[in-house]
């Protein structure tokens, strides 16, 4: 059982004290970020990218991964207690969770959410442990043609399956591809779109775009909408569910784990869609659906399990195929590339410590989350009292310092501000920034692979259907183009229903 050997080898990496510390730091930071509405894991990861320069690759990804799935926990807390979803994936939880809090069952809601999240995350990690090497073993025969098709598939899927309008996502992706061309041509060395500027000669750094779009852009957007002040939190005694609650939610948790796992792997899916689908499923399968919206515990257990499961499983395409499944994974992709590691089919063999280290760190991270979430809820909620006038400038300050450490360049800082404005405008007009970053990151790969393929085939396009893998990918692309509108329509319907009930803005959130 080679897989188990390697998997256990990963614990070697994780159990180093430094990595354990990073894991703990990551999940704690993730939970804190999850609690704060308006600041998401994507923005935090983007802002912390410069710190990861000096870290080992495995440590860096352990930290960033912890932030991602930790944020799914944090978002639940404010959803239940204040009807204020901290994260997009916790919006559905507010429907029933807040009602449960008003009935005095806030502790049960939070407890079942913690248990469900832990179970969902763990099941997804186990699935990841067995599925990832399987996919990676197929991925070993990838040549330039296959990489081209893979990159194309990735861009297509994220553009069409993301939240919101598919057309706007496609436009955002196109802009990302355009931005990827700035700089020197990878094959001939000719300068493109540099406008004679020395600063742009090397192309735009991925970190700049990520920090500007996600970091500064999100903060600017927050400043445009004043926080919805609520009076104090409803009191809750102990965040523990009763045995009866556990029994009632067991079905929801099981279903949520599976559906979350599947939806997280799909590019363009992710935690938000997983939580929406889980809620809809639970409502449909319930014996008395009228309980939903009035404090049905399955309405909390299902989505919470699904979102953690999806957050964990969305690492699979990244680690095995090198396709980021959503905007946040695109930033992770960039983080890995900063470390000199190209995520993709070769990752499991070339850097098994990173591969298995990250996967095994998720087991430990989940345990940390379960232990931390219950006692520390009160402290996290106090964070919400901090004035936005203090929090926002502080975040911008950290971002700017981070930008400067990338290349010691003031030009970069102006560029980040420019991208921040672009990010704000994009959010306001409904263009998702995720596809842009993803297309930017995959654009370089797409172009290089395409040109290599054409060179290899001496001009013929037949190379793209030459191998079985290539044919599969082409079929997948065709299926994606055909089926995506249908899926997107279905998911948007559920989202619209949720919006109507909660009167929230869907566009304000980002996966």
């Amino acid at each position: 059982m080679d897989i188990l050997n390697d998997a256990l080898g990963g614990f070697d990496v994780v159990l180093q004290p430094a990595n354990l510390l990073f894991c703990l730091l990551g999940v704690t930071l993730g939970m804190l970020i999850g609690v704060l509405p308006g600041l998401g894991p994507a923005a935090t990861i983007a802002i912390l990218l410069p710190i990861t320069y000096t870290m080992e690759p495995a440590s860096a990804i352990i930290l960033l991964a912890g932030i991602f799935y930790g944020a799914q926990y944090g978002g639940t807390i404010t959803s239940v207690l204040l009807r204020l979803p901290g994260e997009a994936s916790s919006v559905v939880t507010a429907l029933d969770g807040y009602q449960m809090a008003r009935q005095g069952r806030a502790g049960a809601a939070l407890g079942i959410a913690a248990v469900g999240s832990f179970v969902g995350g763990t099941i997804a990690i186990v699935g990841l442990t067995f599925l990832a090497p399987l996919v990676a073993s197929f991925a070993l025969d990838f040549g330039p043609a296959e990489y081209t098709l893979l990159a194309l598939l990735g861009i297509l899927l994220v553009s069409s399956l993301g939240n919101g309008s598919a057309r706007k996502a496609a436009v955002a992706a196109t802009i990302g591809l355009l931005l990827a061309t700035v700089g020197r041509d990878p094959v001939t060395g000719v300068s493109r779109f540099t406008f004679g500027s020395d600063n742009l000669a090397d192309g735009i750094d991925f970190v700049i775009i990520a920090m500007g779009l996600f970091g500064v852009g999100e903060i600017l957007y927050n400043m445009a909408t004043p926080p919805s002040a609520t009076s104090g939190t409803p009191q809750f005694r102990r965040a523990l569910p009763t045995g009866a609650d556990l029994k009632q939610s067991s079905g929801a948790i099981a279903r949520g784990s599976v559906s979350g796992f599947v939806l997280g792997v799909l590019p363009g899916g992710g935690a938000t869609i997983a939580s929406l689908v889980a809620y809809a499923t639970e409502k449909k399968l319930a014996k008395r659906p009228e309980r939903f919206g009035r404090g049905a515990i399955e309405g909390v257990a299902g989505p919470e399990t699904a979102n953690n499961s999806a957050a964990t499983s969305s690492f699979i395409p990244l680690l095995t195929l090198g396709i980021p499944a959503n905007g946040t994974m695109a930033i992770m992709f960039g983080a890995l590339m900063l470390q000199g590691i190209t995520p993709g089919p070769g990752l499991i063999n070339e850097h098994p410590d990173v591969f298995w280290g990250v996967i095994d760190s998720m087991y430990i991270g989940n345990v940390f989350l379960l232990l931390l979430s219950i006692p520390l809820i009160g402290i996290f909620v106090r964070l919400l009292r901090v004035k936005a006038t203090i929090l926002n400038p502080l975040t911008v300050l950290i971002t700017m310092i981070g930008v400067y450490t990338v290349r010691n360049s003031v030009f970069d800082m102006f560029l980040v501000i420019a991208f921040g404005v672009v990010g704000y405008l994009m959010k306001k007009t409904g263009f998702p920034p995720g596809p842009l970053v993803l297309a930017f990151v995959l654009g370089g790969l797409l172009e290089t692979s395409f040109r290599q393929s054409i060179r290899l085939s001496e001009g013929s396009l037949a190379i793209f259907v030459a191998s079985p893998i290539a044919v599969t990918l082409v079929v997948a692309i065709v299926v994606a183009i055909a089926a995506a509108p249908v899926m997107a329509w279905l998911l948007r319907r559920q989202q619209a229903r949720t919006d109507a009930t909660l009167h929230t803005h869907a566009q304000a959130y980002q996966d």
């Binding site: 204040l82 926080p227 009076s231």
Partner: protein, 128 residues
């Protein structure tokens, strides 16, 4: 003619409310309970829950005083009170006050000072 009280859910607000209630009862005037939030943060400890405000109105009614609540959307607590002192047929403004050191006033500002100086009607500052 009405007496406006700037209410916050702590002991100073309670003291101010008690005084305002007794004044309104004595003078036979209406009591306007104001509570608003500057929307600086997601949880504002100065914002009172609906149930609290309703309880205050009920207490006033028991004492035989006509009372109503007012919430200003988006304006800060002091801002809202100052505006109310302009707009309303306001007899006086009642607020709760606490001692702040000079450095404290420099760094954190003093709501009471602002209200005292900018309101257009008499202001009664009640100590907790």
């Amino acid at each position: 003619m009405s007496i406006i009280i700037g209410y916050v859910p702590n002991e100073r607000g309670e003291a101010a409310y008690a005084k305002a209630l007794s004044l309104a009862a004595g003078l036979g005037q209406e009591l306007v309970i104001m509570n608003s939030s500057g929307r600086h943060s997601h949880i504002d400890p100065r914002l009172a829950a609906e149930s609290d405000l309703e309880a205050l109105v009920a207490r006033a009614r028991e004492a035989g005083v006509a009372a109503r609540t007012e919430r200003s959307a988006g304006a800060d607590g002091p801002e809202a009170l100052i505006e109310a002192s302009h707009a309303e047929d306001a007899d006086m403004l009642v607020i709760g006050i606490r001692k702040r050191s000079q450095v404290g006033k420099l760094l954190l500002g003093s709501d009471a000072q602002r209200i005292l100086l900018e309101a257009t009607c008499p202001v009664l500052a009640v100590k907790a």
